[in-house]
Amino acid sequence: MTIEIPNNTYCTKSHEYITIEGDTAILGITHYAAEQLGEIVYVELPEVGTEFLKGDIFGTIESVKAASELYMPVAGKVIEINETLTSEPELINDDCYTAGWIVKITGFSQDDLIDTLSSADYLNHIEE
């Protein structure tokens, strides 16, 4: 089963996605990443209000197999976190682009997106 990457979404080589919705952006991990990690058991979320630089670690995802850091694809400030993940981390496995989002940010610059991949390029990248 493939889950389609939504519109206005860019991906990183470290498998985070960023969906742009006007001034805010939604961050999460891609369906491919969630599949590779296996059953996700814990997500460490940042605090609302934290400002990150591009490339900063903004959280950690733990699955039964591994623990991985989450990297900011762009610089920005956290305005909302998905608190449901604290009790239901498996939402990332089920539905990473909607119910399984991780943080919402604002104050980012479109210029930062230059290092990300379009969804088509990302799909090619993971095929390789």
Binding site: V41, Y42, E44, E62, S63, K65, A66, A67, E69
Partner: protein
């Protein structure tokens, strides 16, 4: 000649054959590249070999030179206490199935060991008032250093404040341990009553401080003003780390009850012999909120596929075999056997026993302190203590003279604290457990009275 050494696996013939194989005439030639003068200065001047019988009597002769708490009345404490250990403890802990210093490498087939660790963790949680405990650490000192590292990870801050009243040797270990990770340590001074000066702590604390570390009761035996310290730490966004004597919670509140975030301590009082000061084990526990930052191994209970209770090592994503360089610690071995021993000890004495022996230690220590305070020339620093207290010697008496006089009477009076704290001259840390009988206390008091008289004070 070599054939006389019955326990060496290689016979003279084996050696000759090996030398022949590599083409050397004798064993000395193996070391020919070591310069002659070096070889000479490392010459071993060994006595002739003893037979087993001779060796045993020689060892006994040497052992007799030791003095020990079975023969002397001991008031030694300072982190290593002479509590009574029921004989069932050693009997169960020495079962060969348990004999390992490690949590098992193939854990799930060692259900017995895992269950023992799980029970141990549960009991440590009760004693500390915390939600999660790990399978134990090397000792109280390294556990404390790990707690500081953990607090720095959680708060993303790089400084720690430790109390002056924390065990001085633990302070040294913390400084050594945190030198590499470049975490700054500030020491929070104590007041005249031998507890942390909370006003000075308030001045000292900054937004860089990850945690405030105190000891309860502190190294001098005194009860810290935990509520004030907790408030100062938490108002600053710092964690409150408490190192505790596990026996003390028989009558004192658990650190969880006064808001500690991480609780550590040395497990020696829980059924480990004094053994020259170690080895014992360290314990470490924290609130649910921080469990993913806890170092070390954790045993968990679950159900197997048939629905039976089963034990497993859990939360392994913290550990180095999964998280590599980002693991919460590189500690992967512990003091499993000592922890297991304490698990048996705790089961043997139970909550009621713990209360009783904490109470007896407390009562007798206070009884002794009051009596000492009435002897001319002698005094105590404060009455605010659990089972050990600072006794101040008369001005006319040096610590050394005092110690020697007491040893002549077969009494080990306690630790000379002045060597650690220059602000506490002529101070002896006297510790009492349920093993110190009333008659022992009276022998101690009468010895002090005699000294007082001989100094012309009485």
């Amino acid at each position: 000649m070599l054939s006389n050494y019955n326990y060496l696996p290689h016979t003279q013939e084996d050696r000759a054959q090996m030398l022949k194989e590599i083409g050397l005439p004798n064993q000395e030639d193996l070391f020919s590249n070591i310069p002659k003068d070096l070889k000479e200065c490392f010459s071993l001047f060994l006595p002739k070999a003893y037979c087993e019988l001779e060796l045993q009597s020689r060892m006994l002769e040497l052992a007799k030179k030791n003095i020990w708490n079975g023969d002397y009345i001991s008031f030694l404490g300072a982190g290593c206490y002479d509590h009574y250990i029921p004989s069932i403890v050693e009997n169960i802990a020495s079962k060969v199935e348990f004999l390992t210093a490690y949590t098992p490498y193939q854990p799930e087939i060692s259900q017995g060991t895992l269950q023992a660790i799980y029970e141990f963790q549960s009991m440590i949680c009760s004693l500390t008032g915390m939600d999660v405990a790990n399978a134990s650490m090397y000792d109280g000192a390294t556990a404390t250093a790990e707690a500081v590292l953990m607090a720095c990870r959680i708060t993303k801050r790089t400084k720690a404040i430790i109390a002056r009243t924390l065990n001085p040797e633990t302070q040294d270990v913390i400084k050594t341990y945190l030198n590499g990770p470049e975490i700054d340590i500030d020491v929070s001074p104590m007041n005249d009553e031998g507890i942390t000066d909370t006003n000075k702590l308030k001045e000292l604390i900054t937004k860089e401080v990850a945690c405030v570390v105190i000891q309860m009761p502190n190294f001098l035996g005194n009860i810290e003003d935990v509520k004030k310290i907790e408030a100062i730490a938490h108002e600053n966004g710092s964690l409150f780390v408490v190192s505790m004597n596990p026996i003390s919670v028989g009558i004192l509140k658990t650190p969880g009850q006064y808001g500690a975030d991480i609780v550590i301590g040395d497990g020696q009082p829980l059924g480990c012999n004094m053994m020259y000061g170690g080895p014992a084990f360290g314990f470490m526990a924290c609130t649910n909120k921080f469990m993913r930052q806890l170092p070390g191994r954790i045993a968990g209970a679950t159900l197997d596929k048939n629905g039976n209770t089963a034990y497993t090592l859990t939360l392994q994503t913290r550990e180095q075999h999964i998280r590599r360089e980002k693991a919460t610690s590189n500690i992967c071995s512990n003091q499993a056997l000592c922890a297991l021993t304490s698990c048996v000890y705790m089961s043997a004495i139970g909550p009621k026993g713990l209360k009783e022996l904490a109470n007896i230690s407390f009562q007798r220590a206070h009884h002794l302190a009051t009596k000492i305070n009435n002897i001319p020339g002698f005094s105590i620093l404060t009455e605010n203590f659990f089972n050990e207290f600072i006794m101040i010697l008369p001005k006319e008496l040096s610590e050394e003279t005092f110690n020697n006089k007491m040893l002549e009477l077969k009494i080990i009076p306690g630790i000379n604290v002045s060597s650690y704290f220059e602000e506490l001259p002529r101070s002896i840390l006297v510790s009492i457990t349920e093993k110190n009988k009333l008659v022992d206390l009276y022998l101690f008091i009468s010895a002090l009275k005699d000294i007082s008289k001989s100094l012309g004070l009485g």
